[in-house]
């Protein structure tokens, strides 16, 4: 019995949903409403004390952390294989996972939150959110949300986020010049890791991702999007979810960038 605690089919939740759909696994869906901060409610903190989704429940254990979660799915349900057969290919896939966690995800979340989500918050919703944020029981997450709602450091942090995404996009373009998928000849977890984050870039950073500059990345986005598993994951309608008009533009403050080193 598999259960997935997840949010909209975008960002990290999309990664987990795609992984499960690509494997053809049945699971019980528990929708978590990020914009009302349900991830910090007692019911969810029991499942994951760190207060983030997605979280997989399997064999009475909670499996959190998107990249580790997908490796868990891969190793527990090995077919169809979503990791390259050779050690170098698997190393490449894991390096993409690191690039996702350390460079891409924090940068996309920062820019998307400030470009798309924050401007759509009305005064009343913002006030409600501020009140709720004050009650987040995890110090670091509370501080992170307060920073995100305060808008104080966005001007300072956004150039570095754009720089990091530019570097990552160049690496993607270079990898796709060598082979059709990110980790080699075979579609793999690496493609699943990066797709939900990169798919928003043509709209979020058109100056970086566009047809003349990144033709391979754009073609790759289409190839991933055309996969049946990806299609069904992205159109997955969780019970009880009020999906925004364009769920791919919905981001909440994501992982904090690594502070140093």
């Amino acid at each position: 019995m598999l259960e997935l605690y997840h949010s909209w089919p975008c960002g990290h939740s999309a990664i987990a949903l795609i992984g499960l759909h690509e494997k053809g696994l049945r699971f019980e869906s528990h929708y978590v409403e990020l914009r009302s901060l349900e991830q910090y409610s007692p019911q969810i903190l029991v499942v994951n004390p760190h207060g983030h989704v997605p979280v997989l429940r399997h064999a009475e254990a909670s499996i959190a952390g998107t990249t580790e979660l997908l490796e868990y799915i891969e190793e527990t349900f090995p077919t169809p294989a979503l990791m390259p057969a050779d050690a170098v290919g698997r190393w490449k896939a894991r390096v993409w996972g690191k690039i996702l966690n350390e460079d891409i995800a924090p940068s996309v979340a920062l820019l998307a939150w400030h470009t798309w989500t924050l401007p759509t918050l009305g005064t009343a919703e913002r006030a409600r959110l501020n009140e709720r944020v004050a009650t987040i029981p995890i110090d670091e997450r509370r501080a992170h949300w307060q920073l995100a709602l305060g808008e104080t450091d966005f001007a300072e942090r956004s150039p570095y986020a754009i720089y990091k995404l530019g570097v990552a996009v160049s690496r993607v373009e270079a990898a796709l010049a060598q082979h059709p998928w990110l980790a080699g000849a075979q579609y793999s977890l690496a493609d699943i890791y990066l797709f939900p984050m990169l798919v928003v870039l043509p709209r979020l950073l058109p100056q970086v991702v566009n047809a003349p500059a990144t033709p391979r990345l754009l073609a790759w986005l289409e190839a991933v999007r055309d996969r049946p598993g990806v299609r069904s994951a992205l159109s997955f309608k969780p019970a009880g979810a009020q999906l925004p008009a364009n769920s791919l533009e919905m981001f909440v403050p994501g992982p904090e960038p690594i502070r140093w080193g």
Partner: protein, 294 residues
């Protein structure tokens, strides 16, 4: 009984010092083989990220050729090294001509590519825990420790260097991330709030490690794994950096685990590769670090 002096030891990661007194024998030279040069490792001191693949290779019994890269003299940013690793970081593993970077995925590669004792648990849940702890070391514990280590250990070493040459070295750094880190170190622009935040995170880290090791012998569970190697390379410095937080009374399980990992032959052999380059040149080995266990 373990006595660890709380004196401000001006070095970065101190696994080598912490464990110096537990090394019963002299240097155990690695079985580097002059004929077979298929495995080459470029590294600096055997701690932090650089220590991880050395220890993993040793655990697997894989002979390798060691190439010392002098980080303090910016050898990692020379054209020769950038030709191997364009990001200018260590460690780099070259296996039959294939360049493998990024120490955490590198260690999984080592476990997959070479025979020898497995360094990853068979059980998927333990394996997930291994990766979870490894990521914690990469994203939380490591960066906090590194910030304190650089501000305390590397800043004084940089002060002794020619400022003009340092500026030239800064300009040669290939990535913005590393340029930022080195600029901060060379100009010593660490702020007290960010250092304090690093200390707070180390306290959180020590508590989490203690809680986990109270429940099970190794970080992933019942099996020694890459999680132990990865976290050890950071956490071995905690007794020095945070003596009031990490000590025999407050974190007995963490301390016992550090000693258990550190006494493994593969780890001790790795530590003998140290050239003590992070130790202040005019200081004797700190007499306060003593161990009565042996």
């Amino acid at each position: 009984m373990v006595i660890i002096d709380s004196c401000d030891v001006n070095i970065y990661l101190t696994a080598d010092l912490f464990l110096a007194s537990y090394t019963a024998t002299g240097p155990q030279l690695l079985p580097t083989n002059g004929v077979q040069r298929m495995v080459e490792l470029y590294h600096f001191e055997p701690n932090a990220n650089g220590g991880k693949p050395i220890m993993a290779l040793n655990e697997k019994g894989v002979p390798f050729t060691s190439h010392w890269i002098d980080l303090l003299n910016f050898q990692q940013h020379t054209p020769e090294y950038l030709a191997i690793n364009p990001k200018g970081q260590v460690p780099t593993l070259v296996h039959d001509g294939i360049v493998i970077t990024e120490s955490t995925p590198m260690c999984e590669y080592i476990d997959e590519a070479f025979s020898g004792p497995p360094l990853r648990p068979r059980d998927p849940l333990e394996r997930w825990r291994m990766r979870s702890w490894s990521r914690f070391a990469d994203e939380y514990l490591g960066p906090s420790l590194s910030m304190l280590g650089w501000s305390r250990g590397i800043v004084p070493l940089m002060r002794k260097k020619n400022p003009v040459e340092l500026e030239r070295a800064l300009q040669a750094i290939p990535t913005e991330e590393r340029r930022r880190a080195w600029a901060k170190t060379i100009h010593n622009t660490f702020t007290e709030p960010e250092l304090e935040e690093s200390r707070r995170r180390l306290t959180v880290s020590a508590d989490r490690l203690e809680a986990q090791l109270r429940q099970q012998p190794w970080l992933a569970g019942s099996t020694y794994s890459l999680a132990d190697i990865n976290v050890f390379n950071m956490a071995a410095a905690l007794p020095h950096f945070m003596p009031a937080i990490v000590n025999e009374k407050a974190t007995p399980h963490l301390l016992e685990w550090l000693l258990r990992v550190g006494s493994r032959p593969a780890i001790r052999a790795a530590l003998t590769l140290s050239r003590n380059s992070l130790r202040p040149p005019d200081s004797a080995p700190p007499a306060g670090v003593t161990g009565g266990a042996r």
